[in-house]
Structure formats: C-alpha cells, structure tokens
Amino acid sequence: MSMVMIGLEIHAQITALNSKLFCSCRGNYRDLRPNSNICEICCGLPGSLPIINQKAIEYSTMTSIALGCKVPDKIMFYRKNYFYPDLPKNFQITQYNVYGISSIGIEGKYELDDAKQIRISRIQLEEDPGRIVYSEGGMNVRNTALIDYNRAGVALIEIVTEPDFTGPKEVRQFLNKLSLTLEHLGVCDTLLEGSVRCDVNVSMNGGNKVEIKNINSFKEVEKAINYEITRQSSVYNRNLNIELETRHWDDKKKITFKARSKEEEHDYRYFPEPDIPVIVLGSDFVSNLKQRMPELPNQRFERFILKYKLSEHTSNILINDKKLADFFESTLKLHFSPTEIANILVTDFKSLIEDDTESTDYLKNLKVKPEHIAELAKLIEGNKISRITAKDILVKIFESGKLPSEVVNSSNSYKIADEKTIMDAVQSVFDTEKSAVEDAKKNREAINFLLGKVMKFTNGRADPKIAMRLINSKLSAPEKQ
C-alpha cells in the first residue's frame, strides 16, 4: 500500500466585486471586446499606481474566517517579480508570509465530512494576469501571441493547504465544500468559466513532490491526481526515482506532462510593494465582520434542522445546492411550511432541474418561482390535490409558468374526497383485479397494490386516506353470496 500526500493551491476570483483589485475597471471581464476593460493602472502604464479595493479586503477576510484562519491586525502587499507577456507590469502584486507582517489569512483549519482536518497554510489576496490566446492558423499571425488584458488586475484569493490529503476523494470533498463556502459567502461563483483554478502537489511514499499546474476547474483536479498517482506508482514500481518537478495538466488528453525545466528556475525577488502602505485592519475588524458575515453552510445546516425541523438528509440536499436552499427560504417567506416545501424541492422539483444545475443561473431562468411552490404546498396541505397529482402539476408549471391553481382548474386535477366517487373506483378495481383481492385478504401487504390501482384509476386524484379506508372495509366485509 502506498502513502500519498497531496496539497492544494487554489486560486478563486472574487467574482462578487464590481471593480478590479487595484483600479476601477470592471471585475466582470467576461464577454467584452479584448482590451476594452483596461485603464492606465491595470495595463501597467508608466506612473500609474495601484489603488486597493476596500471590498476585496473584506471578501478575502471573510474567506479567511470561514477557513478557520487567523487574520492579522496589519496586512501588506509584496511584489513577485517575473517576466511574462500576460503580466502588464512584469511583476504581480501579491502577498507574502515572511518578515513579520502576514497575508490576509494564516494557519487555518478546515474540516471534511468525516471530521478530518485539512490545515490551511495561508490565504493571499493578489491580482490576476491577463490572458494570452495562441492564435492558430493564418500565415501572418501564427507566430504571435494575442494578448487581452481585460482580466488583468481582477482580484484573486489564493488558498494554500498543507499536504494533508491522502487521496483524490478527500480532495473532491474539500473542493466541493470550499465551493459551497465561497458561494455562501458570495465571494466567488465557482461555476463561472475560469473563476477557479488549482495547482496540486503530489508525493508518494515519502518521495519527491511533483507539482501539477494549469488545472482550470475543480472537476479536473480529481482526474489529474488519479493520473499522477498512477504515473508515480508505475515509476516507483520500476524502482526509479520520482523526480522533483513541475508538470502541467493537459485537459484535452487528460494527462500530466513535464514542464520545460527553464520555467521552474524562478527567483521571484519578493519585496514589499512600495505603492501600498501597510493596511491597518484594527482589532475590531474581524469581530465586526463576523457579525455582518453571511451564514456559512455548516451554520445554515444546523439552522435548517433546528428551525425548520428538517431531517439531516433533506437539509444536506438543500445546503449542497445554495441556490436551491435560497429558493427554499424564499418560498418559506410566502408560506411557512418547511417540511412540505422541502419535500417538494428535494424530490420532484430537483429531479426536474437535475440536468440544468451546471449553468450558473439555472434558477433564475426557470419559469417556476417560489410563488408557485408556495401555492402548490398550500393545495397539498389543504387536501385540494394529492401528492401524486402535485408532481404532474409541477411538470406543467415548469413548462407553462402558470400558477398551480390555474393548472389544477384547467386540468380538473382537484383531489377527490367524495366517498361515493372513490367507492366507484374501488369497486371497478375489485372487479378487474380479482386475484389481487384474494391475495390481499391473506396478505395485508398486498393492499398497497390495490391502492396504487385505485389511484391510477382516478389519475392520482383520489384522497389516498379515504381510498385506503374504503379498500380495507371492503376487504373485511363479508362476501356477497
């Protein structure tokens, strides 16, 4: 059995910000004409100075708190010096944890579902570089890089863990939980393309650490780790040494490949950024922020159980999809019936939207709104429709966006509570399902089959309680001669 140690270095954009980290250009650079979202600061014109965004400090502090980090009273920025065409100043403004003053978060702990703790070494606030598009084809452009600085200067939170993961599953759990936390904090919409990136380091059996860079979504991380473990195992089994190296993840071929060694020879020549004074957060900053901070997934989970009396299972399903949980709570504001509404959402509702949850705004685009679900729950509780009918109605609402009452009216779906009508249905079932009736007389469990038939006969509209009572009484009644 081999021992695997994995550490992560995660970059998450603060997509919640209006503006960039050091200038007033748009934080949302997506879908804009190249180089149209730039100013003298973010494209590094001579003489321009970084002007730090207050809100970025706030969001990164909240993230640090959520990941159990200490937040110091004073923070500082550093310059990381290296040349690359996507870097307008040929240095990156970031943070660095030496010589006294630290980055926004240090020495954190984050718990996985099985109570295993992952140590967070540090959390840093830094700027994103621009983007290089490698042009393909065309004689004139083949040899040049096409650069777009629209992204340059967007605020990034870098989260660095200790190598505490022992396998890809733990990593997946961590990343899922982290995404959820970032989403709850409103810091990062992790489903936006390019909003999260991950570098991974993997070492096995106490061997050298291999760093894998360029993993551009959380989903790919597990694949890259699996590939790397297999690769390292085979090297190990052949009694060869695992090299200390940097590799890149190729997300088309799904393999890691060795980076050219030259790129590893970095001496970043860090030094304090002279254009940004030390920022004094003050001793009350963290405690004040904690009070204003959005609820974290764990807190919300506990609240759902305590306040709404939901089961752990149901709460979990809701919490794990923040937008669904938000939808749930908006519905409660219209009609406070947690169990019924949660039930609709985690079963029928969720199965109807399942295919869609990848897109970031799937709930916004739905025709179904909290109003619909609230009304649906009322109809069920008022015994106006049966649960089975409710599902069909939901399908119709999804398609038409009509209110449940309208659908019920037009399709004549109200629940049948009239004993006479139900009795007629029971009678016809008894007439056609003779052998099942005989079975049910001997074995009471077969009754459910008969109930199902009655429900089907009434298109799910019969009140199941009444139907059950009638079936029971009919079964025990002496047979007609």
Binding site: P46, G47, I51, N90, P274
Partner: protein
C-alpha cells in the same frame, strides 16, 4: 521694470490680473528667450509651443470675459520628462520610451492646468532619473547656465537649468535621492523635495517609489510656495499621498532653532563649507539659534539608499518590454523572452547597472544581507532625525558637498558619481522635507544650502528660507547666456 521673461511667478499673475500685459505676450517673451538660450543650455526634450500659445489665448479670453483664471494663470511651467502629460510625449530621457505618449495626466499636471498654469514642454533628465548630471540622458546633456562647460546637476538638470536660464517661470522636478536639490544647488535656484506623501506621485514614472516626490524648482521662495500649495494634497490615485495644510508666505514666524550637521560640513569642499558658515551667521544675525549636531547613522545612508533605490528600480523598470508602448522595435520572429532582452538592451548603461544591482540585492540569499538591512537603517535614521527634530526646528548643511563640475569628470566611475548624493539622500530615506536655497558663488559656480525639517513641517523650511533669501542677495540671471 524687469524684462517680461525675467518676471517671477507671482509677478506674472499680478501683471496679468492688472492688465499690464497679456498671457500671450508673456508666453511669446518666454518662447523668445528659449529660442535665444536653448541652443546653449539644451534644457528641453520636447517643446510644446503651440500648446503653450493656445493655453495663453484661452487665459486672455477668460480675462476679457472676466472669468476665473486660477491662481497660476499665465505662469509658464516646464515639466521634467518623467511626469506624465496626456497627449505630450513623455520619454524619461530614455530610448525605450521614445514614442510613448501618455493617455492620462499626472495628478500634479491636472492641478497645474486647473489653476491656469501654461505647460511649455518637457525637460531633460538623466535616464529615468538615475544620475546627478543629465549626462545619462539618452538625448543630450543639459549645460549649466552659469558656466556652459559645467554640468547642471541632476537628475532634474533640465528643470534646474531652464529655471535658472529663464526658459520658464517655474519647473517641476522629481527627487529620489536629491534630483531636485542637486540641480537647484548647481544652477542657483530654489528647489524643494516635499515630505513623502505631500504631493501625489500619480503619473510620476517610478524610479524608486518609496523614496521619491515631485517638487517645484523656482527662482524665489514665494514662487515655490505658490506651486507647492497647488500640487500638494491627498489624491485618490495615490494611496501613499496624505493631506497637508497650505503654506503661507510671508508668515509671522518665530525665531527658529537651527542645527548644522557636522558630518556634512567636514565632508565638503572648503569653498562650500565656508559659504554654509556665512549662511549660518546670517541666521544668527536674524535671531535664529545655531548649534552643531552629529548624525550617528549617516555613514550607512548612501549604501542603504543605493540598495533600496536599485531594488525598487529593477522591479519598476521591468514593465518596459515594448509590447504595450515604447519605441520602434518589430516583434519579428523573436520568442518573447529573447524579444524582451533585445528590447531592453536599449536602456542606457547606468540604468542597466542599477537594474542589475537591484536584481542582485533582491535575489534569494541576498535579501537579508542587503535589502532588509537597508530598510532597517532607513528606520533607524528616521528615528534618529525625528529625535533631533524634537530639539531643533531645522537641520542644515550644504546641499552638495562639492561645486558643480565639468562634463565627463565622474561619468566613468559610478561610485564617484553616487558619492555626490551623500547629503541629499538623508531626506529621501527619512521621508522628510528638504529645500535647497542659493547662498553664494565660488568662482562663478553656485552653492546651495540644504535645510531639512520634520515631516510636514514645510512651513518652517519656508519661513527660514524666506528670511535668509531676504538678507542674502543672490544674482538671479546668469551672465554667461
């Protein structure tokens, strides 16, 4: 009456307001003067004749229409060519920025324009401000108006010479280690390096951000105050700028306590020391108390300055890779890093030396040995000076330890060149204000007195300078041109 081109700034504003002459007449007189002396002095890199004339016409129109013309109306200002001017080429006297036209104005330029000042053009300097003679300009050296065989000092040599020669009413320079005060001393004009943070650096093309400030160079203390008050203040585009109160002149001043820094006297040429002594006597005659003090950490100031300035410069100048702006150098078939190195070969020798030294002192392994020690010295020196300022209002000494020297005298020995900054770097390291005031001549070569005060105590500097200026009558216009 004085010739039009010899008027001081406050006389220009008065003359205009009272209708003695028009702004256009005044600007034409200055342009004539430039035409006359520029072939000998070579202060300018770029002259904006048309811009100056059209600004003058606008002011004249405003006067006719009785509109507000601003506190500096009609005052012609020469701008050191490392301060960004929208639409006017800004070269830093470097080949690398030969074709660079800023898209934005430096904060100080905005301030000047808003107050009716007329921009004349861009003045010569040592490339990126690195040097003490203007011999390192990639265009041409500037000549000292008092003796054309001598250097005007630097790096703001163009500013010092232009003001002394009457090519502009006032000028802006920048001072990283003495770059305003050195040419002020060598050209017999008044120059101030303000307290760090008093004047916004937004748009000043960085050489060493933590040390430098923009400041005025003028022919009188009163002029200097006019400019200083206009360019001072907290600016949203510079996180290191700070609010300050305006200076008044003449000011009802107390008798001040002055201390002469012993080491600066003993390190100076005899002629220079003699001149400083007689200035000291003048101070005593007007009722100031004069003592002698010693600065313990002075010995380490210059090495510390060169370490920090080079470190910051190596990073600041990394952005000049010529892909966003710069000079004509086709991309061709070069790979990006080869292209960068080729392009950057076009820095001048001194700039290259400082970049290399900067990279060296920041390299891993050397950071603690040089950079950190230099930072520490800086703090110690500041503390020591602040302690002295509890006892004394002002610290004085010669601005330059030597008289102006001839071209070529020091250019082949970098250390010899660095040593001329030994008196001036103190104020930059400590972030305190320092002024250079003309106090006499030796063989026709100017001598300047440096006065330093505690942070934001510019008023005291000005009070002392104004009093001294009144009792020392210095010839204002050189005979040689």
């Amino acid at each position: 009456m004085t010739k039009l081109d010899d008027l001081l700034a406050y006389e220009v504003v008065e003359g205009l307001t009272e209708g003695h002459f028009t702004a256009e007449e005044y600007v034409i007189s200055i342009l004539k003067r430039i035409e006359e002396v520029e072939p000998k002095v070579h202060s300018f890199i770029t002259l904006d004749t048309e811009g100056a004339l059209s600004s003058a016409k606008i002011i004249d129109k405003k006067i006719r229409e009785k509109e507000d013309i601003g506190q500096l109306a009609g005052v012609t200002v020469g701008i050191k060519d490392n301060i960004s001017t929208q639409g006017i080429r800004t070269t830093c006297a470097s080949k690398i920025l030969e074709n660079y036209v800023p898209t934005y104005d430096a904060a100080v330029i905005r301030n000047l324009k808003e107050n009716g000042a007329i921009l004349l053009g861009k003045l010569n300097l040592d490339e990126f401000g690195m040097g003490s003679t203007t011999e390192y300009s990639r265009y041409h050296p500037t000549h000292n108006p008092w003796n054309l065989d001598y250097v005007p000092g630097g790096s703001s040599g163009g500013s010092g010479a232009a003001v002394a020669a009457g090519e502009c009413t006032v000028a802006l320079g920048s001072d990283t280690g003495g770059s305003i005060r050195c040419p002020s001393s060598f050209c017999s004009v008044v120059g101030l390096k303000p307290t760090y943070g008093r004047v916004s650096r937004s748009g000043l093309i960085s050489y060493a951000n933590s040390l430098e400030q923009i400041g005025p160079i003028c022919r009188s203390v009163k002029d200097l105050v006019m400019i200083l008050n206009i360019i001072s203040g907290k600016d949203a585009m510079d996180n290191t700028s700070m609010p300050s109160s305006p200076i008044t002149v003449p000011n009802k001043s107390n008798k001040l306590n002055v201390a002469v820094i012993k080491e600066l006297i003993t390190g100076s040429d005899q002629e220079v020391a003699k001149s400083v002594f007689s200035a000291t006597e003048k101070f005593q005659e007007i009722g100031f108390s004069c003592e002698e003090v010693s600065i313990k950490n002075l010995h380490y100031a210059l090495p510390s300055y060169y370490t920090l300035a080079s470190a910051e410069a190596s990073s600041n100048l990394a952005r000049y890779d010529n892909i966003r702006y710069g000079f004509d150098y086709p991309i061709g078939e070069y790979k990006w890093d080869t292209y960068f190195s080729n392009v950057r070969e076009n820095f001048g020798e001194e700039v290259k030396r400082r970049i290399l030294i900067g990279s060296y002192v920041l390299s891993s392994g050397y950071y603690g040995k040089y950079y950190l020690k230099a930072r520490r010295l800086r703090s110690l020196l500041r503390l020591e000076l602040l302690t002295l300022f509890k006892k004394y209002d002002l610290l004085i000494g010669p601005t330059m330890p030597i008289l102006p020297f001839k071209f070529g005298e020091k250019i082949d020995d970098p250390i010899k060149m660095y040593l001329v900054d030994v008196n001036t770097v103190i104020a930059n390291l400590a972030g305190i204000p320092a002024i250079s005031l003309p106090i006499g001549f030796s063989n026709g070569l100017p001598i300047g007195l440096q006065i330093m005060a505690a942070p934001f105590e510019e008023q005291k500097l000005i009070d002392a300078s104004y009093e001294l200026e009144k009792v020392i009558h210095i010839q204002r216009r050189p005979n040689s041109i």
